[in-house]
């Protein structure tokens, strides 16, 4: 078996490869569903119905996709610069913590200012959390995979401490949860009888903005150059450490905004289970999107749909929701293989 680089990749292949990969992944997971004794068609039917089969299902999927678009962008941008930010979960919670700190009565502004204020504050908090690993990487060459990953647990314990102590809502009847965000700070809903909120529009706008920055600006050029080849980028005069710090601030900021959106949009107050792993899901979203900011939207919608659909599927038939994790993981592997095949031709004989 031998791989040879392709001299060019046709457009249909770039679009078609991930779609094919997802279909293959669903095929592979069908084996597991068969194992449970349920019908594959039934399972996938209920999955699809739960994800997109009704107005409620669609709004739920969109609500779930909102933070995943943001954490997905966070991972996609950082990974483009080969800054392996695995700390989206921690940055997400830092955004949520700061939104709670400022937004639960400490600051009161008119809604038109309060919401952007909270979003910016959350972005800053997330960005600053990633600044530390980025500086350690620049100065001491500390592996950021380790530092960002471990910071997630530090932040989670910190949130735990806050919710049991200084930030515990006195009206919560003893539950470890934060005080509610004041009305001015709540992200407005965008559709009646749904949980969808303005965070979705922010996420979509930021995805388009991220794409434009990567494609049309010198910053984007430098981030890509550093990611592809830091030695050559540095030789050409790009300040590699500065580019990494900039990327860290943007990436951490995007994950922080996701936290603001959940605490001030979806839930209204901070809890320890605010995120069912949105930070980690962002990595899957980014990989599935091949790190393309616009593809992140599609990829986040797909993954959100799988999770939301799997919940409703497990209520309808006897297939556990864990199948969602398996589908996501398998899709990721298949997409990685398919991306390789768009770049290389495979020959079976040497």
């Amino acid at each position: 078996m031998r791989l040879e680089p392709r001299t060019s990749t046709p457009a249909w292949m770039i679009i078609g490869a991930p779609v094919t990969a997802v279909i293959v992944a669903l095929g592979l997971c069908a084996v597991l569903i068969l194992w449970t004794g349920e019908s594959v068609w039934q399972a996938y039917f209920h999955l699809f119905k739960g994800a997109a089969g009704s107005r409620f299902a669609i709004t739920e999927t969109l609500t779930r996709a909102t933070p995943m678009i943001l954490t997905g962008l966070a991972a996609a941008l950082a990974f483009r610069a080969k800054l392996w930010n695995i700390g989206g979960e921690g940055q997400f919670y830092m955004g949520a913590v700061v939104a709670t700190w400022l937004g639960a009565g400490m600051v009161t502004l008119p809604a038109a200012l309060m919401v952007p204020f909270l979003i910016l504050a959350g972005a800053l908090a997330g960005g600053l959390l990633l600044l530390l690993p980025a500086l350690l990487k620049n100065v001491l060459k500390v592996d950021e995979v380790v530092t960002t990953l471990l910071l997630n647990f530090v932040v989670l314990l910190f949130v735990n401490f806050l919710l049991e102590g200084p930030m515990k809502d006195p009206m919560s009847l003893g539950w470890p949860q934060g005080p509610p965000i004041i009305d001015e700070g709540i992200l407005p809903g965008i559709m009646a009888k749904s949980r969808m909120h303005a965070g979705l529009i922010v996420a979509l706008a930021l995805a388009v903005l991220a794409w434009a920055v990567m494609r049309f600006t010198v910053w984007g050029y430098e981030i890509r150059a550093v990611g592809y080849n830091a030695d050559a980028a540095g030789f050409a005069g790009i300040k590699v450490p500065r580019t990494i710090v900039l990327t860290a601030l943007i990436s951490g900021g995007l994950a922080g905004i996701a936290g603001v959106g959940e605490v001030a949009g979806t839930k209204g107050y901070l809890t320890l289970d605010l995120s069912p792993g949105f930070g980690y899901a962002g990595i899957a979203v980014a990989m599935l999107a091949a790190l393309h900011p616009l593809a992140v939207i599609a990829s986040a919608l797909f993954l959100a749909g799988i999770y939301v659909g799997a919940d409703s599927m497990s209520r309808a038939i006897a297939v556990p929701t864990y199948i969602a994790d398996v589908i996501v993981a398998t899709s990721m592997l298949c997409v990685l293989v398919s991306i390789m095949l768009t770049r290389f031709k495979l020959y079976w004989r040497g």
């Binding site: 049309f216 910053w219 050029y221 540095g234 030789f235 005069g237």
Partner: protein, 503 residues
């Protein structure tokens, strides 16, 4: 006696590319056959097929009259074929003895008989005059010594056919002489050798027969005694080629001056120890030296990657202390890096992206942080045309370009800035003759137009043909400049091995 190795009609295709096209080659006992060809002519592919790294699409190989199982390096080894690769395959953290015995003993044997191995190695060293300390760590050896270890490794495995892939690329002239002496001894004891090279004078010295490859085909085969440089060069390239030669010019004002400049190993580029260098307009200084003697530190210094820790560096009349690559570019230094594929360009980025990398922040290529695509497009197409960069358009990924075209891209980017000082670090290494001539002519032209050039090369012929003055670097120290017209390659070779020049 009859042939001991016979390759018959070997054909190997990579997609649409025919790397080897019905190549036949034979070897007699005690014979040295030179395989001559430019990069990409198919020499290495052919040897990889012989050695079992690739399987040929067509054709057969016979060793000592028996067919060789294709696709198995083991088979080639046990049939008595040894190969010394251009890039050595030695473990730096193992001793010479361990490197040589590695893989010769069964994985299941309880203990290894070191005394026996040691005795055998000593015997081989004696027989062939290949002296090495069996207990030295390979990482501490010089390049010439490492090559001896590679040859001993083949001898230890009882190779009777030795393939040497570009064995002289990393050696000083003196080391080349001693290698040739060793090879003659080996041949005297019945060894047959395939010597791969593109250096004509070496081939004329060492081989009995020359086989010339071009574009995967055997284009000439002749006894060495009937061949001469011109005929071989023409066969190799397919046309007559004349490499440029520098003509003396009157040097102008000083553009780059190093005064007792030192760079320590802490900066990660090797050591430069109190270097003095004066580079004037209209002048090319050639830097000779065995690789690893401080060239990297000097190049990093002038590229803006390393900073002078002691002494002063003056660029265009301005002292430089805290430097950066961008700073050097803005101060009129054009930099052609040694590793064009990994430092010169970013392979995954498009041709246009690499063309603007040093000037991405300059108007009109970008305005307030936004790339100015119109200006970029016209600059890129202009440079592609002026420097004859063969690509499928400015959007093509740079990694898909050939080595010569990548170097033209780097030249285009550098010269478009009209640099007054040019650092050319191994500018033609690994290029084919056509591209070499182009690159050398371009450098000479830039110098005629008023640039000062520091040319770093391991090829003495190139240095002597192009440079006005030559400085030799050894253990981080620069020699006094020598007029390139009154020095011989032999003298420079001696200085490269650390001996002072005879007055």
């Amino acid at each position: 006696m009859s042939e001991i190795l016979r390759l018959d009609g070997i054909t190997k295709r990579f997609g649409p590319l025919v790397a080897n096209d019905a190549i036949s080659l034979s070897l007699k006992p005690g014979e040295v056959v030179a395989l001559l060809g430019e990069n990409g002519a198919g020499k290495t592919t052919l040897m990889n097929i012989l050695f079992g790294h690739y399987t040929a699409d067509e054709g057969t190989i016979e060793v000592f009259g028996r067919p060789l199982t294709p696709g198995q390096p083991d088979a080639a080894l046990s049939a008595g074929i040894g190969m010394v690769h251009q890039h050595f395959s030695l473990g730096d953290n193992l001793t010479v003895l361990d490197n040589i015995t590695l893989g010769t003993e069964s994985l299941w044997s309880w203990r290894h008989d070191e005394a026996k191995a040691r005795a055998r190695l000593a015997q081989l060293s004696d027989d062939f005059g290949l002296s090495v300390d069996p207990d030295a760590l390979v990482g501490a050896l010089s390049v010439g010594e490492k090559q001896r270890v590679e040859i001993l490794k083949a001898l230890y495995r009882e190779a009777r056919i030795l393939i040497l892939d570009e064995p002289t690329a990393v050696l000083t002239p003196q080391e080349v002489d001693s290698l040739f002496e060793t090879l003659r001894k080996l041949v005297g004891k019945g060894m047959s050798i395939i010597f791969i090279s593109h250096k004509l004078h070496e081939i004329l010295t060492i081989s009995d027969r020359v086989v010339v490859l071009r574009r995967g085909k055997v284009v000439a085969e002749t006894a060495t005694k009937d061949a001469d440089r011109a005929s071989l060069a023409e066969a190799m390239v397919g046309r007559a080629v004349h490499l440029p030669k520098g003509t003396p010019m009157d040097p102008g004002e000083v553009l780059l001056e190093l005064n007792n400049v030192s760079v320590s190993a802490d900066q990660g580029y090797g050591v430069l120890d109190g270097a003095d260098l004066v580079l004037r307009r209209h002048e090319i200084i050639g830097l000779a030296g065995v690789s690893g003697n401080g060239q990297q530190a000097l190049a990093a210094l002038i590229s803006g990657l390393a900073r002078p820790e002691a002494g002063t560096m003056t660029v265009n009349g301005e002292a430089v202390q805290h430097t950066s690559p961008g700073h050097m570019v803005r101060h009129g230094v054009g930099r052609i890096p040694e590793d064009r594929n990994h430092v010169g360009v970013i392979g995954e980025m498009a041709v246009w992206e690499n063309l603007i990398s040093e000037r991405r922040r300059d108007t009109p290529l970008s305005r307030s942080g936004l790339l100015g695509f119109q200006a970029i497009r016209s600059l890129a197409s202009d440079l592609i045309e002026r420097f004859d960069i063969r690509c499928q358009g400015q959007n093509e990924e740079t990694r898909l370009l050939s080595g010569g075209n990548v170097q033209k891209l780097v030249l285009a980017r550098v010269l478009n800035n009209n640099p007054s000082i040019i650092l050319a670090n191994q500018p033609v290494r690994g290029l084919d003759i056509g591209a070499i001539a182009y690159v050398q002519n371009t450098i000479l032209e830039a110098r005629s137009n008023g640039a000062a050039v520091l040319l770093i090369s391991e090829d003495l012929e190139e240095l002597m043909a192009l440079s006005d003055r030559i400085q030799v670097i050894y253990h981080g120290r620069l020699s006094e400049p020598i007029d390139a017209r009154d020095v011989t390659a032999r003298e420079i070779g001696l200085m490269m091995s650390g001996q002072a020049r005879a007055a």
